[in-house]
Symmetry: C2
Subunit: 335 residues, 2 copies
C-alpha cells in the first residue's frame, strides 16, 4: 500500500507538499499540485487515517453505539446523526451491542480505543459506571436514558410525560384496568415504568396497576402478553414500553382470539415506522428520533469545540399519535 513518501517521490516533491495537498491546504503552486494529484491517482494512494489521527490527536469521527439495530426507531436516529455530523465535517462510525450489556461495553471500548472525538450512546443498557467511565475520556451524549450523574450530556424525550399521555388517552376512553409491559432495565425503560406508575396513581388507579416484563423486543412483548392472558381478570387496555413490544403483544392477543381495539386497547411508544404501517396502525407515543439524533450531535460538538463545559440535559416533548388500536372498553368500567 503506497504511502505519502511514494507519492512524493513519484511527483518529485517533498512529503510535506503532498500532505498539504491531501489536506486541502493552500499555498501550493498549480504545477506541483497537478503533479501530486496525478501521482496520487496513479498510485491509488489513500491517506492513512491512523497516522493522521495519531499526530493530530483528533479523528473527526463521532462514534455511535446503538443498543439494538433491529429496532427501526434507531434508523431514524442514525439518519439524524449522520446528517448533522456531515454538515459539521465529522464522520460517523457505528457499533452495536445486540441489547447485551457486555457486548455494548466492548462496542463502546472499541470506539474509545479508536479515539473517536465524541460518543453517542443510543438507549444503552450498560451500567451507569461504564458510561461515567467513558465520559471521563471523551464527550459523551446519552440518548433516551436519564443519566443521573453529570459525566455526560443527555438527550431524552420526556418519558414521564409520554407515559402519562398514553395512560391519559386510555383513561379518557373509560379504561381503568390498564396493564403495562415493561422494557427491562436500562434505556428509558425504567423511567417509562415510573411514568406509568405515577400516572396510574394520579388518576386514582393505583389498585389497577399490573406490570409484566417485555424486554423491549417483539418476542418479549409476546411473552409479556401471554402472561397477562393467564390472569383471571384481563386488563381492558395495555400500554407497552415500546412499539416492538406492543407489536409482539398485539400478535399474542390476536392469537388468543381477542380483537383489538374491541376487546382490548393497545398503546406503544416510539412511533417507529412499523407502527405507522397501515396494517399495524398502532396508537403510540411519538418521539422524534431524527431530531434527537441531530441534537445529540450538536451537544457533542459544543463539548468538542469547548464551547460548553456544563452538563446539558435536553428533553424533547413526546406526543400522542392516535391510530386504530385504541377505543372504549367493551364493558363499562365498574366506576
Amino acid at each position: 500500500m503506497p504511502t505519502i513518501l511514494d507519492v512524493a517521490r513519484r511527483a518529485g516533491v517533498s512529503k510535506s507538499l503532498v500532505s498539504m495537498v491531501t489536506r486541502g491546504e493552500g499555498g501550493v503552486s498549480e504545477e506541483k499540485r497537478r503533479a501530486i494529484l496525478e501521482a496520487i491517482d496513479e498510485l491509488d494512494y489513500r491517506p492513512n487515517a491512523m497516522a493522521r489521527g495519531l499526530v493530530q490527536r483528533q479523528t473527526r469521527i463521532l462514534g455511535v453505539m446503538i443498543s439494538d439495530l433491529q429496532n427501526p426507531f434507531f434508523g431514524a436516529v442514525i439518519s439524524g446523526i449522520q446528517e448533522r455530523a456531515e454538515e459539521r465535517g465529522f464522520r460517523v462510525l457505528i457499533t452495536t451491542g445486540d441489547r447485551t450489556p457486555s457486548v455494548e461495553e466492548s462496542a463502546m471500548e472499541n470506539l474509545l480505543e479508536l479515539r473517536v472525538d465524541g460518543l453517542i450512546l443510543a438507549s444503552p443498557r450498560v451500567g451507569d459506571e461504564a458510561i461515567a467511565h467513558a465520559g471521563r475520556s471523551v464527550p459523551v451524549v446519552v440518548l433516551n436514558r436519564d443519566t443521573n450523574d453529570d459525566s455526560s450530556d443527555s438527550v431524552t424525550n420526556d418519558n414521564i410525560a409520554g407515559a402519562r399521555l398514553a395512560v391519559e388517552h386510555l383513561v379518557s376512553f373509560g379504561h381503568r384496568r390498564i396493564a403495562f409491559i415493561e422494557g427491562g432495565v436500562g434505556a428509558g425503560a425504567r423511567i417509562r415504568r415510573e411514568g406509568y406508575l405515577r400516572a396510574m396513581r394520579d388518576f386514582g388507579l393505583e389498585e389497577e396497576i399490573v406490570t409484566v416484563e417485555g424486554r423491549h423486543t417483539e418476542e418479549g412483548g409476546h411473552q409479556g402478553a401471554m402472561e397477562l392472558l393467564k390472569m383471571r381478570v384481563l386488563p381492558t387496555a395495555v400500554f407497552a414500553s415500546n412499539d416492538l413490544c406492543a407489536i409482539g403483544a398485539m400478535t399474542a392477543f390476536e392469537e388468543a382470539g381477542l380483537s383489538i381495539p374491541d376487546d382490548l386497547s393497545l398503546v406503544g411508544y416510539d412511533n417507529n415506522r412499523m407502527a405507522a404501517l397501515r396494517h399495524i396502525s398502532l396508537t403510540t407515543i411519538d418521539q422524534p428520533g431524527g431530531d434527537m439524533g441531530r441534537s445529540a450531535v450538536e451537544r457533542l460538538l459544543e463539548r468538542i469545540d469547548g464551547d460548553r463545559t456544563e452538563p446539558s440535559h435536553d428533553v424533547v416533548s413526546p406526543s400522542l399519535v392516535v391510530r386504530s388500536t385504541t377505543g372504549p372498553p367493551r364493558f363499562e368500567a365498574k366506576a
Copy 2:
C-alpha cells in the same frame, strides 16, 4: 490522556512490558503484571488503536457499509456478521450510505482510510468501478449484488431463482397479469428484474409483462403501486422487488379500496421481520440474512488469512414463504 509511557513510569517498568501485558502476551512475572494492571486501572489507561494499528499494519477491524439502515432486513445481516466476527476475534465497524451512491462512496472511503482489514458491502448502490477500486486495496465481499468482475467476492441469494419462485407461485394460482415493482439500480434489484422477466417468458406470459419503479423503499413502493392503479387494466398480482416496497404498495392498494388477496395478490422479497408480522403477513421470498452475514465474514477471513486468492461467489437458495397476501385471481384468467 495517559499513554503507555505513563503507565510504565507509574508501574516502574519499561513500556515494552506494559505492551506485553495489554496484548496478553506471556512471559511477564506475576509481580510486574500486577503492578502494571494496577497502574492501568489507576490511570484509566486505554491503548491507542491508531498507534497500534500503525505499527502492526493491521487493525483486526471489519468494515461494513450498509446501504439502508432503515431496512430491517439488514438488522439480521449485521447480527450474523457481528456474531461470526466476534468468534474470530475481529471487531465490526458500520457505516451507512443512506441509499445514495455518493454518500455510500464516502462511507466506504472512511473505512478504507481507517485501514480496516476487510470490507463488507451490503447491497451497495455505488458503481462497479468504486467496488473494484476498493477491492484493489483490501479484501471486499459484496452482499446481494452480483458483481461481474472478480476484484471482490460475493455472497448473494439466487435472485433469478427467487424471482421465479414468486412468479411461479402466482401462476400456480392462475394469475397471468403479474406486474413487477422494481428496486432501482444496484443491489440485487437488477437481477430480480431479470429473473421476473425470464420467468414471465418461460411461463409464456411475455405479453403480460408490466414493470414500474419502486426504489426499494416503502415510499417508492407506494408510488409504484399508484402508477399501476392508473393503468386501464389492472394486474391481478404484483411482485415487488423487496418487502419494504411490497408493504408500501400494499398500503396504496388498500387505500384505493382493493382487498388483498381477493382483488390482488402481492409477493415481496427478503422476508424481513415486518413481513412476518401477523398484521402484514406478506407472502415473500426468504433470504437468510444472518447466514449471508456469517458467510461474508468467512469469505473475508479466508482472504485476510491468505487461505484463498481465487474469487468466490457464494449463492444461497431463497425459498418461498406463503402467507396471507396471495390467492387465486378474482376472475378466471382468460386462458
